[in-house]
Each structure stands twice: as structure tokens, then as C-alpha cells.
């Protein structure tokens, strides 16, 4: 019974609004654009942060990445002829780091090399990574064909190679290449698999496989190619000795990422005179991204709040005018026996219906705009259920809040005076 009454009241509210189509439309406009812009802005914000988060997740949020870098002092002396730079992480560092922390679940050591490679007639310089099977757990990517490096490969010191998409493209390798042999440097490797690879950058940390063309077992890389690389430069030859270019560590859970990273830094520092390493924590980036998102949401919330309040004031303004204009009608209804509360609810329902419909149209607009932005500006946008329902509830609420004053004014109309009102 009560529900039927509410439905009837809402229907008669809609009926009333339809009697003044243009005015109702204009009244709604503020809410339409308010809600529309909120939904659109939320979608853009969500899109940007989702993009950032995705990049960070590619790094692995439980990972710590320790990289070798040329120290500043080394850079300065490197220009001298026949000088050999020795820097970076060592095999011992790896053993020490892994042995020192019980929080470490998996670790992988990485050697980076550049080698002239050849598949059939095709020859290219490839970026070669010597690593262990753990790499593929820490930097998980889909296998396109074949398999990745296994523990047996390390044990057997098997000359196997796993190409990334980049490497496969460079050598024009396809699935049928699996089982065939490629030449890396002067040595021959059997291709056992091809894996997907990710490009891009997250914050100031490079995605580990961004610059990888081919993976080989690290023991093999060490044995075949050694630790010294020679590069021809304009001024002559540049020689470097780097044992490990990267150590990637995965810890058990997020809570210990930062403390472990600090510990690792301490351990390595003890054995390095120069600052020739860098510890990066993707999780810190994640935190940073989340903080940015929070700030963004606050700013957005304020703008949204202002635009919705402006919309609400617009509604209030017109409803007040409506009340004055409909004074006589109110008087008639009161004389017939409508109670004050019934007049209040009549006007409240009208404003709520207005603002809710305005909110719905606004959501339509707010969904349309981001898809246009994505289409034309190529910016990622994400519409979440929250970014739709929140503005809808707020707009309905605004209808009630800003409709209340005009409704109370309407209810206070004295029927005797109102009936004489022209």
C-alpha cells in the first residue's frame, strides 16, 4: 500500500514535470553537466592510474631490482686509453644477498651482453641475457612457443636460447625456428622457445625485459663470453668488467619489501667502495602512484562537489520560482485537504526526480566523453561502477537537499492567502 503510494507520487511528480518540459530540462542542466563532468573526470583519472599500476605490476610488486651502474668516478676515468672499468654487482654479492635474508623467496642473477647473432642469412646484434629459470617466475610472460630455460639447462650447461618477441622479430624467427640453431657471438645455441615481451617504463624503473632479445643460461654466458666486454668507440676501445648486471629478488609478501630492500642496500654497501649499484623497489612506485591517485581524487572531488553544488543551487532557484508561481495550486491542494507534509513530499519528489533524471543523463554524457577522449586523444579511460553510482546518489541527494527549502516554503503557504493569489 505504502509503496504503491510512493510510486503514484513519483508518477504524478513526473507528470507535473512533463507539463513544463523546457523548464524541467533547464533545471536539470546544471546536474547533467555536473554529473557528466564528474563521471568523465573519474574515468580519465582511473584510466591514468590504471595504466601506471599496470606498468608497475609488470615489474612485480613483490620484487626488488638491484642493478649495476657505472659510478661517477668510473665515468670520469673511463676516457683513458686501455683502461678497463671494473664495477657493478659480483657473483659474491648475489650469494651474500640471497644468504642474508630469510624473507627472500626467489632470486635471479642476470648478465647482459650484446652479441652479433645470426639465424640463417639474417645477422643482427642482439641483446643477450644470461639468467636462470627463476627469471621466468619473477618476470612472468606468456610463452608463445616451445619452452623457457629449465634447471637442467643450467646443470648441463646446455647451449639453449629462448627468444623474446623482439629478438624473434630481429632474426625473423617463427615457431618453426624452434629446434633450429642460431649463432650468438662465435657459439651455436639451439632455440628452444619464444616468449612474449613487454616494453615501456614504470616511473624511473625500466621493465626488466624491455631490452632483451634472447635468454641463455647464465653459466653458459659466463663460460662462453666471460665477464669482460669490449666495445669499439670513437676514441678507441672501451673495456668493462661487470660480473652481474642485475639481481632481481622476490620476497614473500608486500610488507617486507621495503625493509628487505633497505637491508640489501646495507649488505651490498659494505663490500662496495663506490656507489656502482642501484636498488629499486617497484612497490615504492606503486605507493607513489597510489598517493598521486589519492591527491587527484581529492582535487577531482572538490571540483565535482563545486559543480554539483552549483547544479543544486540552480535547482533550488527554479524550484523557489516554481513555488511562487504555483502558490494558487498549493492553496487549492491545501484547501482540499492536503497536509503540509504531502505538499513537502510533492515538491521534494519533483526535485529528486529532476536531479535523478539529470544525473542519469549526466552519466550518459560522462560515459560518452571518455570514450571520445580515448578515441581521439588515445588516453586510457576506465569507468568503474563506483564512478557511476556515486555521482548518481550524490545527484539524488542534491535534489533532496536543495529541494527541501523550496518545499518547506511551499508547505508554509497559507491556503486562504494562496487562494486569493493571482
Amino acid at each position: 500500500m505504502h509503496q504503491i503510494k510512493i510510486v503514484r507520487n513519483i508518477l504524478s511528480g513526473i507528470e507535473n514535470l512533463l507539463l513544463h518540459k523546457l523548464r524541467s530540462l533547464l533545471t536539470m542542466l546544471g546536474i547533467v553537466f555536473g554529473v557528466g563532468s564528474v563521471v568523465a573526470m573519474l574515468a580519465v583519472g582511473e584510466g591514468a592510474s590504471a595504466h601506471a599500476l599496470e606498468q608497475i605490476h609488470k615489474l612485480g610488486s613483490n620484487n626488488i631490482i638491484i642493478s649495476s651502474i657505472k659510478s661517477v668516478e668510473e665515468e670520469a676515468t673511463a676516457t683513458a686509453h686501455s683502461h678497463m672499468s671494473i664495477y657493478g654487482l659480483t657473483y659474491e654479492d648475489y650469494t651474500r644477498v640471497v644468504g642474508s635474508f630469510s624473507t627472500i623467496e626467489q632470486a635471479v642473477s642476470v648478465k647482459l651482453l650484446r652479441k652479433e647473432s645470426r639465424l640463417g642469412e639474417r645477422a643482427m646484434e642482439l641483446r643477450v641475457v644470461g639468467t636462470t629459470p627463476a627469471w621466468f617466475d619473477l618476470v612472468p610472460r606468456d610463452t608463445i612457443a616451445g619452452r623457457v630455460i629449465r634447471a637442467e639447462d643450467i646443470q648441463d650447461e646446455a647451449a639453449v636460447a629462448v627468444l623474446t618477441e623482439f629478438g624473434a622479430r630481429k632474426l625473423l624467427a617463427t615457431e618453426s625456428t624452434i629446434g633450429q640453431y642460431i649463432r650468438i657471438g662465435l657459439d651455436v645455441f639451439q632455440v628452444v622457445g619464444i616468449v612474449k615481451s613487454e616494453g615501456g617504463q614504470a616511473g624511473n624503473i625500466q621493465i626488466p625485459d624491455q631490452e632483451v632479445d634472447v635468454y641463455i643460461p647464465i653459466e653458459v654466458a659466463r663460460k662462453y663470453f666471460g665477464d669482460i666486454t669490449t666495445r669499439r668507440t670513437a676514441g678507441g676501445r672501451e673495456r668493462e668488467k661487470v660480473e652481474l648486471h642485475q639481481i632481481i629478488v622476490q620476497v614473500q609478501d608486500r610488507n617486507v619489501v621495503e625493509s628487505t630492500a633497505k637491508g640489501i642496500e646495507e649488505v651490498i654497501k659494505r663490500f662496495h667502495k663506490k656507489k656502482d649499484y642501484k636498488v629499486s623497489v617497484p612497490l615504492a612506485l606503486l605507493r607513489q602512484a597510489e598517493a598521486t591517485k589519492r591527491t587527484f581524487n581529492i582535487v577531482l572531488g572538490s571540483i565535482a562537489g563545486i559543480s554539483l553544488v552549483v547544479g543544486g543551487i540552480g535547482i533550488m532557484n527554479i524550484m523557489l520560482a516554481t513555488v511562487t508561481e504555483r502558490t494558487r495550486e498549493i492553496g487549492i491542494r491545501r484547501a482540499i485537504g492536503a497536509k503540509r507534509n504531502q505538499i513537502i513530499s510533492q515538491f521534494l519528489i519533483e526535485t529528486s526526480v529532476l536531479s535523478t533524471i539529470g544525473g542519469l543523463i549526466g552519466i550518459g554524457l560522462g560515459v560518452l566523453i571518455p570514450s571520445l577522449i580515448t578515441h581521439f586523444a588515445d588516453m586510457p579511460t576506465v569507468i568503474t561502477p563506483g564512478s557511476i553510482f556515486l555521482p548518481l546518489f550524490i545527484s539524488a541527494g542534491i535534489g533532496i537537499i536543495f529541494g527541501l527549502y523550496p518545499a518547506v516554503r511551499a508547505a508554509k503557504v497559507d491556503p486562504i492567502v494562496a487562494l486569493r493569489h493571482e
Binding site: 492553496g331 487549492i332 485537504g337
Partner: protein, 237 residues
């Protein structure tokens, strides 16, 4: 004095006792009702007459439960309504009273049917029953086929018929008519008065405010007011 039993014979539908209504107009007090005591019998047809400022409109508003007395008592159907709050008075109007006004007071945006249904809406009737009732009333006042029209499409007489149908929707005990023919030509006015006379014959108590004696002539009793007091009552009693 207040607790005296309002020896209320069933015949009295309305009783005013020392009814006073005082308006504050600036610094001046206006006694629109200056202590009126009177009973109205059930089934009567009263015309309240008097020059402007005599208090007849105030009388009407008080009797119609639209206005409070300053002092005194108003007993409607044996119930003292002078101390009732706004909601209770609204409820009384909704269930027991009907109003007809000089300027019809129809809601212009609503169709004839919706106007007639208005009291039923507040009484909580469902749509089908309300529509049936509206049809029946339209027939009764001679407005068949006009239910979908808007008031602006009707003549004055037709508009007043809609108003009468609306006033009858809740089957009221008392019908108040405030200058019901004031905006109509004589012939149309005559027809409307005829409708009122018929309703009275069917048992409705009617209280009508008018200042025209040929209009008042249709009533059974005429109550002449002057300066907030009843000057005299005439008619067959």
C-alpha cells in the same frame, strides 16, 4: 464555561460559541468576528450575506476549517475543532468538507478528470476507483465527455461544474460555496445555483457566501452579518 456540555442535538452540524477572530493590521486590531454564537442545522442551505468587511469571508474560512478562531469554540459534528492542529484540520477538510470558489480554483495544468480526482488522490484511492468516481461525478454535474479537457477549454459554467464535482468527490457533509456565481453570467449562475439546490435536496448541508440577494434567494436561510456580528437571520426555519 469551556467545559460546559455543548448540548448538541444531532440536528446541529455546526455550532459557534463566542467565536472571535482578531486580525492584527499594523497597530490596529480588526475584530473580523466579534463574538458570534450560532448553530447550523444539518441539511440546511445557508446564505451568509453582508457588505464587504462585515466578516462573512472570515466566517467562511473559520467554518471551512481554513482558519483558527482567536477565542471561542467551533464545534463541528460534535467535535471541538478550535484547538486542532493543522494536520487534523486538513484531515477534516479532506474527509468532511467540500469547497466551491468564485474563481473556480481548478488546477489549470490538470485535466478535468485529474481535477475531480484530486481529493481522492489525497484520500489514497487507487487510480481505477478514482476514475470511476470522476466519471460518475462528471455525469452528475453534466460534464460527460469533458473529462480529458483542460480547464482553459471550458466555459465558466462548465468550470464551476468541475469545481462542484471535485467538491463532491469525497462525499462531504458540508459544502462551502464562496460567491459561486460571482464570475458567471446570470443564466449560467442560475444553473449552478440549481445544482446546489438539488444537492441540498439530496441532503448536503450548504453554506454559501454571497452579497447578491437574488443568489441568496435560493437558500433556505439568510444570515446577515455586519461588523463581525450577526445582524439578523431570516428564512424559513
Amino acid at each position: 464555561m469551556h467545559s460546559q456540555s455543548y448540548s448538541n442535538s444531532d440536528a446541529d452540524i455546526i455550532r459557534l460559541e463566542n467565536a472571535e477572530k482578531i486580525y492584527q493590521m499594523g497597530k490596529q486590531q480588526v475584530r473580523a468576528l466579534a463574538g458570534v454564537t450560532i448553530s447550523f442545522k444539518r441539511g440546511g442551505f445557508w446564505a451568509i450575506m453582508g457588505p464587504s468587511g462585515s466578516g462573512k469571508s472570515t466566517m467562511m474560512n473559520v467554518l471551512g476549517c481554513l482558519d483558527h478562531l482567536t477565542t471561542g469554540h467551533y464545534i463541528l459534528e460534535g467535535q471541538d475543532v478550535s484547538t486542532m492542529d493543522d494536520d487534523s484540520l486538513s484531515e477534516l477538510r479532506l474527509r468532511h468538507l467540500g469547497f466551491i470558489f468564485q474563481s473556480f480554483n481548478l488546477i489549470s495544468q490538470l485535466t478535468v478528470q485529474r481535477n475531480i480526482e484530486l481529493p481522492l488522490y489525497y484520500l489514497g484511492w487507487d487510480a481505477r476507483k478514482s476514475a470511476e468516481r470522476a466519471q460518475e461525478l462528471a455525469h452528475k454535474v453534466g460534464l460527460e465527455g469533458r473529462l480529458d479537457h483542460h480547464p482553459a477549454e471550458l466555459s465558466g459554467g462548465q468550470m464551476q461544474r468541475v469545481a462542484i464535482a471535485r467538491a463532491l468527490a469525497n462525499d462531504p457533509q458540508i459544502l462551502f460555496a464562496d460567491e459561486p456565481t460571482g464570475n458567471l453570467d446570470t443564466a449560467t449562475g442560475e444553473q449552478i445555483l440549481q445544482v446546489l439546490v438539488e444537492l441540498n435536496e439530496q441532503g448536503k448541508t450548504i453554506i454559501m457566501v454571497t452579497h447578491e440577494s437574488h443568489v441568496a434567494a435560493h437558500s433556505k436561510h439568510r444570515l446577515h452579518m455586519l461588523d463581525g456580528l450577526i445582524e439578523r437571520i431570516d428564512g424559513d426555519n
